[in-house]
């Protein structure tokens, strides 16, 4: 009777031990095979990366009909290749609302700070138009008050801008990407703008103004971007600083920093 019980127990033990041993062995084998597959896939990737550069054929002009795979080497190079293919922040058919702070960089007698609002529409990735509105606050520099207090110069006749309204044509020929400390990539556009408008000065005059600018737009997402803008405004205005009350050409260099919002949502591939 005891043999009758011992036999099934021993059989069951053998089977169980065998199963456990097999499972552990197979699982470790599977892990090992996974590792091997992973390593082999990496090595094959490395080989596939290395092969084209090592054996890259120099393309020549297409001479005839292709009959074999080796004839692919005779293909002529493509004439239109996008150097950087994927646009992270497409602009075609979209509006850009831009809000920023501006300052005049080159006014020796006044400090000018203000708000800058712009609205652009892009017909194509490279071309667009933009409406510009800028309001500035003005404060005298120390040199200006010294001229008045110590030398008796009438500084109220010095011309400085109070606001500007105009429209630009925008050309964006440059598209690129930058890496911050080699960790994160930020796509950007570099644009140029040309336009005109009206500058309202502290002399209560409104002067026609030539507007030339450049700047960069750094994409933070597919709808928002950080943007800086460097603008030169040139206009003619009357000034009595020289005592002649004649007209002079004034040049204002503006630096503008702000955020852009693009809408509507773009359609992506």
């Amino acid at each position: 009777m005891s043999k009758q019980f011992l036999l099934p127990i021993s059989v069951a033990t053998t089977v169980a031990l065998s199963a456990v041993f097999s499972i552990s062995t197979i699982s470790s084998l599977a892990r090992a095979e996974e590792g091997i597959d992973e390593i082999e896939s990496m090595l094959s990737k490395e080989e596939s990366k290395a092969t084209p550069s090592e054996e890259a054929p120099q393309p020549t002009k297409q001479t005839g009909e292709l009959r074999d795979v080796s004839d692919l080497a005779q293909l002529s190079p493509m004439s239109d290749i996008a150097v950087i293919q994927k646009r992270f922040l497409p602009k075609t058919g979209r509006f850009e609302a831009f809000g920023a702070l501006s300052s005049v960089l080159n006014d020796a007698f006044f400090m000018n700070f203000g708000a800058n609002l712009r609205m652009a529409y892009y017909f194509q990735e490279r071309y667009g138009i933009e409406l510009v509105g800028m309001i500035l606050t003005t404060a005298e520099r120390q040199v200006t008050s010294d001229l008045h207090d110590k030398r008796g110069v009438v500084t109220t006749s010095l011309v400085t801008p109070k606001s500007y309204y105009g429209a630009d044509f925008k050309w964006t020929p440059v598209y690129g990407k930058m890496a911050w400390r080699n960790k994160t990539i930020t796509p950007f556009d570099l644009y140029f703008s040309l336009g005109g408008g009206i500058t309202n000065t502290n002399q209560s005059s409104s002067e026609p103004t030539l507007h030339v600018g450049t700047g960069q737009t750094f994409a933070l997402s597919k709808s928002t971007a950080f943007r800086w803008d460097f603008t030169w405004n040139a206009y003619q205005s009357k000034s009595s600083a020289g005592g002649s009350a004649g007209s002079s050409v004034y040049n204002n260099l503006f630096i503008t920093l702000g955020m852009s919002y693009f809408f509507p949502e773009a359609t992506y591939r």
Binding site: L7, V11, T14, V15, L17, S18, F21, S22, T25, I26, S28, L29, A32, I36, I39, M42, L43, K45, E46, D80, I81, A82, V83, I84, L105, N106, D107, A108, F109, R141, Q142, V143, D146, L147, K150, R151, G152, V153, V154, S157, P173, V174, Y175, G176, K177, M178, A179, W180, R181, N182, K183, T184, I185, T186, F188, L190, A241, G242, G243, L253
Partner: protein, 257 residues
Amino acid sequence: MAKVVHFRVALLKIICLLAVINGAVAWSLRARAEVIQFPQEELASESVLPVFDQPEAVKNRSVRTKNRIELGLSGGYSLTEAFSNPLSLGLNGTYHFTEEHGLNLYYDYFFGGQSDYSRQLNPIPNTSPAINANLQYAPSPRFLALANYQFTGYYGKFSLSKETVMNLGLYGLGGLGMIQIGDATKPVASFGLGQKFYFDSHFALRFDLRFLAYRGPDPLSRPLDKKVSEQSASYFDEKTVFESLLTFGAVYLFPSF
């Protein structure tokens, strides 16, 4: 009963045989798996370093600056200079310790002379009898020498109308130096930012915007209408001057050594 025992013995034999075969096969496969070993140098680095823990955005830089010297020539414009000629000529040299960190030395020579504003004050408008401000006799900047730490945080590339690709770097500058104004030399603090556009791995255009702060002579603190020659800086009171300097030039990046 004998048949049952016989059947169980046969069943036991089959199970034992299967277990032995199974174990032998598993053992042989396990042994085979352990035999395969790759030399460490042949293993891809990604197999030991998690990809997303140490991302590398730029795998192969077209323009490497580490251990390279860069020399350049530039023109400068003092954006908020009231009475002196704002134009200058600059020399700059940079040694790049790494791709990000470098030491920039900058020397700027000011052409001197009066600004348009200063000329308009000879004579001062609406004075009778006419009085000349004579600000040309106030000390004006002669040269500026700066040693800056240069941190190139951004490196990238861009497409110019899909035809060519160029590289660029965006960096910040901060440092100290000396500025000579008339016959006085004053310490100056500087910070700024700039951008380089590389035509290839050697030539680049360089734009810098630097902000300067120093204690210098105040040309309006003393009357100059009776003077006939440039006055010493010590003749004037001192004031804190904030100036911004825009420079534009070309640089050549020498090979590393």
